[in-house]
Structures are given as structure tokens and as C-alpha cells.
């Protein structure tokens, strides 16, 4: 496969994901425009889209891992990312029993949450392994005090954003397990943001390089995931069902970005 056709595959992936995410945003912003289609159609389309992107992401990340030397942090990072995306895929598969097979909203919590919750430590471990790989490679990471300052800033940001966002969720009368999960997902996302901040620093310094798009895609994936979880916690707890397509759009953007990043890495390895 040539470099040009490789790049076309990435462009097609980004365009398809962008289109689907915009479609769901449009449904939230202009519900009248899609009145004839109904929420059920969007639920099936959203579920299928997420299944495809999660499965594709897991497969491509697994293949990307195979391009790196055994025993290295970077290979471990791609493997863990692949397993994390596989966790999302299995969770989505559990949801599809309701959303596709029966055409009804899935219950929350459900079996899917077992896989969703299991996927997060894998994603966090993947990002930490990426940071370790970068450090190990001897690239400039800034002084120890700069790194501690960055970590302090991220933690302060997480606390500053997390408390006002999650306090209303914690204060609702939802069942304990539902409330616990609605708090756990955003908190796991905030934990994801710590290694993400270090990787963001690396990514900004790669400006103009071919490898930058891999890291941009992965970071967009993490940020959209965090946005999706926070929006889900808000909309489900505060009963704002009309805005659920926004959650779908964010998750589609997230899984699509992970798939794009994995594809871009695979292309870089094979080119």
C-alpha cells in the first residue's frame, strides 16, 4: 500500500467519524429536522457505529503493537490500548442486546458497565506506558520541578472542574449503584487526564511532524471520552434525555479518534 493510499484511509476515517458525530449533534440541536426518523433509528445507528469504531480501534491498536519490539513500553502501551478498546467493544456488544435486538434503551447500570469500568484502568495504564516510553527514549521532558508543576496544575484543574460538575450528580436521589457509576466514570476520566497532560506536552512539540497526528488523535479520543462521560452523568442524572445525542456524538468522536490514531500509527510503521 502506498503512502498516499494510507493517508486516504485516515482521511476517510476522520471524515466518516466527523460526519456521524455531526449527525448526532444536529439531532440534538435541530430535533424537528429528524422527527421522521425517530430516536430508535438513531439509537441503532449510534450503537452500530460505536461497535464498528471500537472493534476497528482494538484491532488496529493490536496490529500497531506488533510493529514494536517485544518488552518495550511502547508495545505494552499499544497492547493495553487495544485491550481497553476491546473492553469498550464488549460493553457496547452487551448494550446492543437492547439497542439493536430489541430496539429499546439499555438499562443503567447493566452488564455493559462491568466491561466499561474494566476498560478504564487499561486505558490509564496505556497512557502511563506511553509516557514511560517517551522518557525512556531520552527525549527532553522538562525538569523534575516542571513535571511536578504540571502534575499539580492538572490535579488542581481536575479538582476545580470535577467538584462543581459532580456535586449535582452526587446530590441526586438516584439508586446507589447508578450514582456510584455516574461518579466513577468522570473520576476515571480525570485520572486519565494526568498522563494525558504529559502526552499533550509531547504532542505540541511534535508540530509539523508526521507522528504528531497519532498523538493528536489519541488525545482527542481521551478528551472526547471524558466529555462524553461527564455529559452522560449530567444528562442521565438530571433527566435531560433530549441531549443524549450529544453523548453519542462525543463517544463516536472518542472511539473514532482512537481508531484513527491506531490507523495512523500502523501506517507510520508500514510506510
Amino acid at each position: 500500500m502506498t503512502a498516499i493510499s494510507n493517508r486516504r484511509g485516515e482521511v476517510a476515517c476522520v471524515a466518516a467519524v466527523g460526519f456521524m458525530a455531526l449527525l448526532f449533534l444536529a439531532q440534538a440541536a435541530l430535533p424537528g429536522l429528524f422527527a421522521g426518523m425517530g430516536r430508535g433509528t438513531f439509537m441503532v445507528v449510534g450503537c452500530l457505529t460505536k461497535l464498528v469504531l471500537e472493534g476497528l480501534g482494538a484491532l488496529l491498536a493490536h496490529r500497531a503493537a506488533g510493529g514494536f519490539d517485544p518488552g518495550t513500553h511502547v508495545r505494552r502501551a499499544w497492547r493495553l490500548l487495544s485491550l481497553g478498546l476491546l473492553g469498550f467493544f464488549l460493553a457496547q456488544l452487551a448494550l446492543s442486546r437492547y439497542q439493536i435486538a430489541r430496539g429499546v434503551q439499555s438499562p443503567f447500570p447493566s452488564l455493559a458497565d462491568v466491561f466499561f469500568v474494566a476498560a478504564y484502568p487499561l486505558l490509564i495504564a496505556a497512557l502511563v506506558s506511553f509516557v514511560k516510553a517517551y522518557q525512556e527514549a531520552g527525549f527532553p521532558m522538562g525538569s523534575a520541578s516542571e513535571r511536578w508543576t504540571l502534575m499539580g496544575l492538572v490535579l488542581a484543574l481536575c479538582l476545580g472542574l470535577g467538584y462543581p460538575m459532580l456535586a449535582p450528580v452526587a446530590g441526586t436521589a438516584a439508586p446507589p449503584l447508578e450514582k456510584l457509576l455516574n461518579l466513577a466514570y468522570p473520576l476515571l476520566d480525570l485520572a486519565l487526564l494526568v498522563p494525558t497532560a504529559f502526552l499533550l506536552r509531547v504532542t505540541l512539540r511534535l508540530q509539523g511532524g508526521n507522528v504528531q497526528r497519532v498523538w493528536v488523535a489519541l488525545l482527542v479520543g481521551v478528551l472526547a471520552l471524558a466529555g462524553g462521560d461527564i455529559a452522560f452523568a449530567y444528562f442521565s442524572t438530571l433527566d435531560m434525555a433530549r441531549l443524549e445525542p450529544v453523548v453519542d456524538a462525543l463517544f463516536i468522536a472518542s472511539y473514532g479518534s482512537f481508531a484513527w490514531g491506531s490507523l495512523a500509527q500502523r501506517n507510520l510503521l508500514s510506510r
Binding site: 511532524g209 507522528v211 504528531q212
Partner: protein, 86 residues
């Protein structure tokens, strides 16, 4: 022993790896590796260039894998041979 101008060697390496890492990262990575190795004189010997390239190759591995990294380093060697006669 044959020695090459340090600045010219570093610039040649930066030129080849910049399309992958970007100009800023390529420059800071190559400069940092040279400094960490203590290669801060005006000239570099062939063995020092080899050590520097091994370090840079290890760094490239995490972004593009070993095979692609070896290809890039081969390109660096070609450029160095033409530019500074290393």
C-alpha cells in the same frame, strides 16, 4: 582521525528526522542527545556520530518502530556522507 563539524552534523540529522518529529522536536531532541553524551566540542568523530545516531534511533523507535527507524538512520548516513563526509 576524521572529524566533522558538529553543527553541520546536527543540522543534517535534524533535516532528515524533522519530517517525522517536526522541526522543534527534532532540533531539541538532537541537541539534547548530543549534550547528554557530552559531545559539545566544535567537531565530532565518526564513532561519536555513530553513538549519537544510536541514541536518536532508540528515540525514533517509540514513534515509528525499529524497521522504519533503521530506514531513517540509513537516510541520515547518506545525507551525512554527502554533506559533511562523515
Amino acid at each position: 582521525m576524521v572529524e566533522s563539524n558538529r553543527g553541520a552534523v546536527l543540522e543534517a540529522i535534524i533535516e532528515v528526522i524533522a519530517p517525522y518529529l517536526g522541526q522543534g522536536m527534532a532540533r531539541s531532541a538532537v541537541t539534547a542527545h548530543a549534550q547528554n553524551l557530552g559531545f559539545d566540542g566544535a567537531h565530532l568523530r565518526a564513532d561519536q556520530i555513530e553513538i549519537l545516531m544510536t541514541k536518536i534511533g532508540a528515540g525514533l523507535n517509540i514513534f515509528v518502530g525499529r524497521e522504519k527507524s533503521a530506514t531513517i538512520l540509513a537516510e541520515v548516513k547518506q545525507v551525512l556522507a554527502g554533506a559533511v563526509g562523515a
